[in-house]
Every structure is written in C-alpha cells, then in structure tokens.
Symmetry: C2
Subunit: 340 residues, 2 copies
Amino acid sequence: MRAVVMHGPGDVRVEDVEDPAVIEPTDAVIRVTAACICGSDLWPYRGVERQDGPTQMGHEYVGVVERVGPEVRDIEVGDFVVGSFVASDNTCEICRAGYQSRCVHQVMIGAIGTQAEYARIPLADGTLVKVPGEPTPEQARSLLAASDVLGTGWFAAVAAEAGPGRTVAVVGDGAVGLLAILAAKRLGAERIIAMSRHADRQALARRFGATDVVEERGEAGVAKVKELTGGYGAHSTVEAVGTQESMMQAIHSTRPGGHVGYVGVAHGVELDGMDLFFSTVSLLGGPAPVRRFLPDLVDLIMTDQIDPGVVFDLTLPIGEAAEGYRAMDERRATKVLLTL
Amino acid sequence: MRAVVMHGPGDVRVEDVEDPAVIEPTDAVIRVTAACICGSDLWPYRGVERQDGPTQMGHEYVGVVERVGPEVRDIEVGDFVVGSFVASDNTCEICRAGYQSRCVHQVMIGAIGTQAEYARIPLADGTLVKVPGEPTPEQARSLLAASDVLGTGWFAAVAAEAGPGRTVAVVGDGAVGLLAILAAKRLGAERIIAMSRHADRQALARRFGATDVVEERGEAGVAKVKELTGGYGAHSTVEAVGTQESMMQAIHSTRPGGHVGYVGVAHGVELDGMDLFFSTVSLLGGPAPVRRFLPDLVDLIMTDQIDPGVVFDLTLPIGEAAEGYRAMDERRATKVLLTL
C-alpha cells in the first residue's frame, strides 16, 4: 500500500510499504478514506524532534473497517469509523474517568501511521466509534477534524470550564484554538475572546462564535482581556500553542478562581511556582482524551449541528503529501486534508 | 498595648506599641483573645524573607469586637469573631465566586499583625464571622485553627476534589497537611494516605482519619502510593509543603484525570511544562480562600463535630512569644498558640 514516510527533516515521501495485518486479537484494520497533517507532524519535519530512521506518519483518520481480530465485538467489517490519536481500552479506571488518552493500555496511533491506505487500529472496540449512516463529503471532513483538532479543542474548552455566563479567552488561532471557540460556543459560553492577529483566522473565529478579537500578545494581550472583563480577567482560558509566552498569556488572562485548559504541547515551558500560586487558577491540560467526546461529536456532525471540517483549507491527494507538509511548514495552510 | 515585633532574623520581642484605631469606616478593632505563630512567620525569622525594619507579626486570630467604624453593619461590639489572614469585602465577583483570598480590595492581615492585644480588621463585615454563643476553651483553640491552618487544609482538600469513593494522598505532615486529612475525612474520602515519617504526626494523622501512612519520600513515595492504588495513583493529592520535591511528589502521586490541591507557598518551585502536560492532572492552589469555608467550619466546631485545635502542641502567654518562635524554628513544636 502507499504510505507517507518521513526520512528526515524536510524529507517526506510517499512509498509502497507492506499492508498492515491484524496482530493482536483486539485489532482492526481500516481502509483510510481521509487523513491529515498535524501541527505536531512539523516537529520532526523541522528537525525539532529526532526520528529513528524512516517513519510512517499520521495519527488522524476516518475510514472503513476491512478486517477485525477474533476478540473484536462491537466493530464490524464495513463500519465507517473514526477514532482518536490514542488507542485505548475504554474499560480501565482511567478511561472510565474520561481520560482515555492516558489509558493504562494506551497505544499511540502516531507510532503506527495513518497517512496511508490502510492502518492497524489496536483495541478496536475501545478506540473506534461507528458513524451511523453514510457521511456526506462535508460530514466526512468534519469527522476527520473530530479525530484530533476538534476533540482537542473541545477538551480544552471543557478543561477551562467554558459554559453559561462565562467569558472564555482563547490563546492560539490554529485549528485547535479555532475549534475550542466552536466548543466554547456549543458549551454555552456568554462571551468568547479570540486572541489572533490574522484576518482570515479572525473571520473563522467569529464564524465559530467569537464575540471579541484581541490582537495584542503577551502582557499587552492580558491587559486587553482584563479591560474587556471589568478588570477581573476571563473565567476560562484555552491555551492552544504550547510556548512559554502563550502559557503565561493564558494564566495571566484568567481571573483568580478561573480555569485554564491547555492543550498546546508544552515545548520548553517552565512555570514559576510562586507566580502560579498567586495566580490562584485551576490548570488542566495534556494530551486530549478525544475518545470521551467522540460519540457526542459524531452525533453533532451527522446531524449538521457543527461544521468543524471548514478548518481544512488545503486538500491534496496523498501522492502530494510532500506539498502538504511544505504548505503547513510555510504557514500557507492551517490544516491539510489528504484524500486516498 | 503589647505586641510581638520582629526586629530581624531570630530577633522577636514583645513590646509596647500604639493601640490600633478605626481608620477606615469599614474597620473593626478587636481584642485578640488568642493568636498563633505560623510556619510562614519563620521565613523572616530565618532570614529567608527580608523585612523592612521592625515589623508587628501575626495573621491568625480570634477575639472580641471592641469598636466598629460607622459603615460596619453586620458585626457588633461584643461579638466573638474569627477571620482569615486576608481581609476581603466578600461582595466583589472574585469573593462571590469563593476566592476571597484574592478579593479585589484584599488587605493582608499579616501587614497589620495579630500577635498583639488588639488588632484592626479592615472590611469587617466581609472579613469577620460571628461565633454563636460562648466558645469553650477547646472550641476557642479550634476556632483559632480555622483562621488559617484548618481553612487552608480544607481548601487544599476541596481543590484536590476529595470526596466519596476517592483516595486522597497528603504530602506534608505539618498543621495544614494534618488538617487537610481531617477535611478529606469530613468530605467523605474513602481512603486517606498520610505521607509522614514522624510517629507523633502519624498518630495525629490517623486520629484525623488517615487510613494509610507512607514514610517514603520523593519518587519512592510516589511508587508506594501507586502500589496502594492498583498502580493508578491517588484521585486527589494535597500538597502542603511548598518545595520542588513536595510538588513533584504530589503531581506524580496523582492518577491522570486526578486533582492536586497545593497550598504550600511555592519557594523556588519550577514546574516543567512537558512533565505537567503528560501528568494530565488538575492543579489548583494558592493562598486559601479561608473565608469561603469559615461559616461552615465555625458551625462544625461549635457543635463539637471537629476538633482541629488539637494541632496546637505548645501554648504560651504572649510574653513568651520569642520561645514560641524558637520552638517552631527548632521543630520542637508543630503549632504554637499564644494566649493574651
């Protein structure tokens, strides 16, 4: 089958590799109908993360079940399915508490690679969610978004306790930040402040439910959020970047007793204990337990209540994956969808 | 009046100072009937914190109202009252959300000093809670504990979401950690793991409700907590020390999706963003909003349902305050009560 393989920084190729097979009795193999390129795929692409030799890429996916292992009970051949970037049993205490991304039997899908014609999905019953009916092309794009960026933005909004009567600030205007706005809106937030200085992303932020846009960054951005909130700061802040500046901007934009949901993978971030102590905010983040939200997200998408798929601003056939990586790297695209 | 004044590291004297007066119309002046020495008073005593000249000490207190300003409505002369270490209006949005320790009009009582015969209490209506009836000597000691160490331990347990079905680990066996155990028990925790290596404090921990004691510290302590919790870690962890080691011990003892409530003032603590991200725990801490809990704590104490006053293991007349500081500094006492 064809698959995207990264040979080193900047070197992405589409190659013929061996078809995946059922290895564990709880595995399924799916025919991937669409995959995408993630901001996190750019770390090895840019040489920030080292890889150990050529690596199959990708961890977001929708597709049709081709084969199942003998212990798979709930998923059947022919099902159209979506799953998250972490395979989880969905039965351990951690999963049952809603933290499937930290399942005691977790398998990172990124170690398998879904930018490919087929993919092995471990713990299929726990990991995959069956989509009812036949998705339209627009619904299929939205389901693909649910696999990571929507699910991650949703978790961030939930972790920040976005809800009725709350003012939510969102730091980061990438796909995750934008979809955290959509989530905050659906969760009933009264006011949503998008922190963005790009006109196209501001427009999408407003489409998803942002009521205010703040272009300032760092402490100037914090001051602006306070000015918009009677001097108190936001009740709920989403951090969707993962840098020192963005974390500080998020924490300081939040009022005492407020909540910060952070999902930007923290690169080089150090939090000063005394600063955090006197901020007196709740901090919750990490790899998003997308699986917790998937059933509801699938329902919202299949009933056309949300359209997160509009974050894909470049669609390419998998054969042109290298151009997709370049477009993401050069910021010509926010989020690239690969068709198969 | 007589008051405890610190002239420099290790130099505590009881001196005659001017009686306090009503300055703001919302002030009250109370006759302090008991005060105490706090772990945090040891920072300047040990020279870790610098003071700007001789400083009146103390921020914990119970007493009788002597005078009130013309705008005080709810507190009357003769009331027996208790308050926290932060004066708060109890009406701003932050106070109403339960974070009175970060009130927009907050005044730190430590800047006034309550190890004295009288003390001015700003924002009396918001700050002070009237005690119904006449407390017994034991109840008065417990009310004094409520002023800071009990209220702080209670907040830590609430921030850690201690409750039914939860296993709670407590890092730190000082007065705050011990009273967090009492709080976790009252909040319905199923299992409480005290992390302590002192026999006398272990005994008090068990009296307050600890079901298990772990003597190991650092990563060895973490391993022990995991061993006691089926490999998952605690649902809820209280951090009541404020060092790098204790914060790491608390975070790593907590399962993914669990909660850490930290109230040890973080001295020299730096949290690594990536470590925190992959811990996937909720973190909430800071100066405890004791005022939120005071009405309930007063009720529990005056109906003899809790006896937090037993943490005081040394009682001295205020004239012997210097010996009290020495005993705390040399760890001969956990918590010193000063009588007036």
